[in-house]
């Protein structure tokens, strides 16, 4: 009756493969190297297994659940590294099969290991593994420890599935699944009203973006008759799609990326999402999921390249978001919110890079950012773990107490500020060069200012948390356990060295590899004027210096909290003068500007969103009011409905088309 033959055939095939594999002598396996790329589809399955296992027996395992999660993600990580290494020498591997056939439509599913996907697999599984390990210490004692690990598994599965999808429909499916994982994890502390609200907000707001993605994707399908990336690119190259259509679909898809990557104006969910546990913020809202928007644009890069307007949109939104979020970050007092706005701003950087046709720069910064931002979040988590507050006004002087966390946090801060020698410096430089060479001098300038602000607010954070005197009431401040510090250490090393895979000095290995065989993606390295690097260095150091003068030095003054500053007693008049000068001009301006943007954020962006929801809610209210419960009304409404239809028909003679 039901066409089971196909199902049996698939089942039989799987059995045969497993059987053959088991019977093959071990040395043949070793020689063959287990065909790593062909088995890359196994990578997402480990965390899925972890999720299913913990769902079933998590309650009994209690805190031992962590080992299941850690082991499974370790398996994914090892596999990802093998796949990455193999991808250095082997060509792209693509596997697909017919998934759904309706009439003339054929939809496929499968997986693809190209350079970008291999790199993403590595980043995601690495950060996920480290966060799994870190959480063992951070979540210790939580009643729903196993649930947390189960959700982490679900998320990791979805994220890994996302980055090996060979077609946009499959990407979309995992894209939504990732959102679900994020929803569950943000709302993990469900007894907190804010967490619940944030979870819902994150889910709904990214959904708004997803609608754009869905429509864009279906329009593409309509135009090219395929969801496959390769087919779409072929059609774009062959000129089978009109320019307007390319621009329209690219922008619609970019709207999806805006939602997921927290770009203006759909960014407000991301800072709120900080209500989730800190390891979640590190994994989802810094390193992986929010970068999915950037990944999507990168994965569809040839489509974007085909439309100047679309590229320009990406660049402008990215550039604006970069400075917009950075300026809001200047006045935040919650440690995680500062980092959240910083993430939004850095994602804006990546978008700016992609929009300026700097494919390599965008992907490169995605990678380095994943490392140093995850490090910063984990270190912030370690601080919160120690002092039980997120308000930086109540911290201070923690350098001596957190001997391990503090230097690591400093490394992350230096990296994100773009101090020469660290990873962030190289990737940010690439972006600035790309923006300049891409012919966006205004956006370049914005990015440069944003770089200054980044250095400033990150060091403001650092000085307020780690230097000066302790302003909090905590007494038992202690360093975190090694399960928490070791992942941070590893990320710290990466935050320093990861930049050296692509530098103007030692060769652009990463860039050459990423663009190998895909000339359409551009060159591995864009040559830019040397002064850009100097300028980037100067603004970064200037930002740090300013932060030091305001927060590093002033924190010595006894009446720090009153904000007046005992300036007359400072040693050097000159310094005072600079302080004052900055305070009066730059800082006042920046603060004012920042408040203005904050105002836009709260009243206009949120206002529009509230307005729309308000209208919908109002309609709902009206609708339920109409529902009087009186059967006469129902009959009357129906008759009116019929009458309206008949009258319209009578008036238009039935040719209302």
């Amino acid at each position: 009756m039901v066409n089971l033959t196909k199902l049996y055939a698939v089942g039989g095939q799987i059995t045969r493969i497993v059987h053959e594999w088991c019977l093959t002598p071990i040395d043949t396996h070793l020689k063959r190297g287990f065909d790593k790329m062909e088995n890359a589809w196994l990578i997402p399955l480990f965390p899925l297994l972890s999720f299913l296992l913990l769902l079933l027996i998590g309650k009994r395992l209690k805190e031992a659940s962590a080992y299941v999660g850690i082991l499974m993600t370790l398996a994914s990580l090892v596999f990802s590294i093998l796949v990455l290494l193999e991808r250095f020498s082997e060509p792209t591997y693509l596997y697909r099969f017919d998934w759904l056939t309706i009439g003339e439509m054929h939809l496929t599913a499968g997986f693809e290991v190209n350079q970008l996907n291999a790199l993403m697999l590595f980043i995601v599984s690495l950060v996920s593994f480290l966060v799994h390990t870190y959480s063992k210490g951070y979540m210790h004692g939580d009643e729903r420890f196993h649930v947390f690990y189960a959700y982490l598994g679900l998320f990791t599965f979805a994220m890994l599935g996302l980055v090996i999808s060979p077609n946009i429909l499959q990407t979309y499916i995992f894209w939504e699944l990732v959102g679900l994982g994020s929803f569950l994890l943000i709302g993990f502390y469900y007894y907190k009203e804010e967490a619940k609200a944030a979870a819902k907000k994150a889910f709904i707001m990214t959904r708004i973006g997803d609608v754009g993605l869905l429509i864009g994707m279906i329009l593409l399908f309509w135009q090219t008759n395929s969801f496959e990336y390769s087919e779409i690119f072929k059609a774009v190259e062959a000129g089978a799609i009109s320019n307007t259509m390319i621009t329209l679909t690219a922008i619609l898809i970019f709207i999806g990326a805006i939602g997921k990557s927290g770009q203006f104006p759909l960014h407000t969910w991301l800072p709120d999402a900080m209500e989730g546990p800190t390891p979640v913020s590190a994994l989802i809202h810094a390193a992986t999921m929010v970068a999915a928007g950037v990944y999507l644009v990168a994965a569809l890069f040839p489509l974007f390249l085909a439309s100047k307007t679309a590229l320009m949109t990406v660049a402008v939104i990215g550039g604006f978001t970069a400075i917009f979020a950075a300026s809001i970050g200047l006045v935040q007092t919650d440690i995680k919110r500062v980092l959240a706005y910083s993430t939004v701003s850095q994602l804006g950087y990546m978008m700016l890079a992609l929009g300026s046709a700097g494919y390599v720069a965008g992907v490169f910064h995605l990678m380095t950012h994943a490392f140093f931002k995850a490090l910063l979040f984990l270190a912030a988590g370690s601080v919160i773990h120690a002092v039980h507050t997120q308000n930086i006004e109540e911290m201070g002087g923690l350098w001596k107490k957190l001997k391990f966390t503090a230097p690591l946090f400093l490394i992350g801060t230096l990296a994100i500020s773009g101090v020469p020698g660290l990873s962030g410096f190289f990737s940010k430089d690439e972006i600035l060069v790309a923006a300049w060479e891409g012919g966006h001098p205004v956006l370049f300038l914005l990015a440069l200012i944003a770089a200054f602000m980044t250095a400033f607010y990150m060091f403001r954070l650092f000085f307020m948390v780690f230097t000066g005197e302790n302003r909090g009431k905590q007494t038992h401040v202690h360093e975190s356990p090694s399960t928490m510090t070791l992942p941070m250490l590893l990320l710290g090393i990466l935050a320093v060295v990861a930049g050296y895979v692509n530098t103007p000095w030692f060769g652009s290995f990463l860039g050459d590899w990423l663009t190998d065989g895909n000339p359409v993606l551009g060159h591995g390295h864009i040559e830019g004027p040397a002064w850009i690097m100097a300028a980037a260095t100067i603004v970064s150091l200037a930002g740090i210096l300013l932060a030091y003068l305001i927060y590093g030095k002033r924190s010595i003054a006894p009446d720090w909290l009153s904000g007046k500053g005992d300036m007359l007693h400072t040693v050097l008049y000159n310094k005072y003068y600079i302080d004052e000068f900055y305070q009066m001009t730059v800082v006042a301006f920046v603060t004012g500007f920042s408040y203005l943007l904050r105002f836009i954020d709260v009243f206009i962006v949120e206002g529009i969103i509230k307005g729309v929801t308000g209208i919908i809610q109002g309609l709902g209210k009206l609708g339920s009011k109409m529902q009087t419960g009186q059967v006469q009304t129902y009959g009357a409404v129906a008759f009116v409905g019929l009458a309206v239809l008949v009258v319209i028909y009578a008036l238009t003679g039935g040719y209302l088309r």
Partner: protein, 504 residues
Amino acid sequence: MSLESFQQLNWSIMTPEFLILGVIAILVLMDLFMPKHMDRKMIGWIGIVAILAAMVATASMVGGPVESILHDTFRIDSFALAFKLLLLGGGALVLFLAVSYEPKDGVERYQAEFYYLFMTALLGAMLMTSSGDLITLYIGLELLSIPSYILAGIRKFHSQSNESAMKYVINGSISSAITLFGMSYVYGLTGTTNLLDMASKLATLSDSNHVYLLTLAFLMIVVGLGFKLAAAPFHMWAPDVYQGAPTPVTAFLSVVSKTAGFVIVIRILLTVFGFAATDGQGSIPILYNMQNYLAVIAAATMIIGNVVALKQTDIKRLFAYSSIAHAGYLLVAFTALTPNMFYSIWFYLLAYLLMNLGAFAIIQVVTEKAGSTKITEFAGLYRRSPVLAVSMGILLISLAGFPGTAGFIGKLNIFLGALYAEPGHYLLASIMIAATVVSYFYYFGIMTQIFFRPAADNSKFNIPFGIVVVLLVAVVGSVLFGILPNIAFDFLQNNLDIIADFFK
């Protein structure tokens, strides 16, 4: 007709109907002669077996030729078989719900009636799928409706249930009257009740007055049947009736009755009005000419269903609006009128059947235990019963049309259909997307209750066997058809050539 020719008719094609009818008769007699104190549940189980047997009988006819008896008043074509299977599947699951239904004020006294009235209504729905004639279609419709009225009011001492039945009767009668009035015009213009005869007579229609009258008939039939589908603005009975009726009855109304409504809509509108010319032979048919009216109804249904659902605090009312919204999505598929329409509608109804009946199974368990149908009764379900909570979570994301579930594939089909149609229905497709986004709010509102709220009491649930069966089928089906939708599509495409059969 002589007895001999009567006997020579191919009665075997009615096997599923005879099976159900026969078992109903047996069950009525059993109920009559069974000792009063004996448990009537057995009757329900016999009913389930009968429905499953009817399903096997129907399935065995799959792949056969088009057959009809009694001048097409009863016909077996691929359309009939495909939708009959859906109805029987839905009917069996509803009976599983019914045997597990034990509300506090009790329906034990009428429990046996409960079962055979369900089956009678199901028989009506089955007849509708197989009718090629207005008379049998109408009889099928009434045979479905009248037992439904009684079922809605079967909790005799429950005032809400009484109110529900009363409203249903009145609204149902209005709708029947309007439908019948519309049908009378069609009969008056053609002089026949056979749908295919009508089609061939109307295909050359060119008198503009006749076209005008026929279009009025079209509107009246659409409105009359719109009641059955609970399409806006003829949906207003649904929330009140759904809320008051016993939960299995609500499940029946929202799934089986709605499926039957789509069956009759497609049968009449497509056969008669899909051919009725507007200006001589070869001109554009009335159905295509009136697509915009259908589009407006579809859009209004989606918007009203989803938007009003936001404000609901009662789970059954919420699901009433949700089912209104789903009718809207289905109407989008019908409005688009693509060659894939049958597949899209059939698959969506299948997905809807699974996810909605599964959700009602959980609603039944939770509301029965709590004695109230407030949405807040779902608070902390995750702590009280992780199995129920996770199942409900899966069913809700499927209802919301989340990727990886059958609901997503169903919506994707409809959406693609709306864009692929010539001319494309972009506005309708956009409204559908926007409406879907709105639906996320209330489905995830329930999810928030289940996963993120503390429970008022921590008592555990006893999940009766019937519910376990429904949940298993619903959850496994929703995920399976979400991941491997080709199982269903291949079955349909390889065995049932609906379009070719439909007009034979």
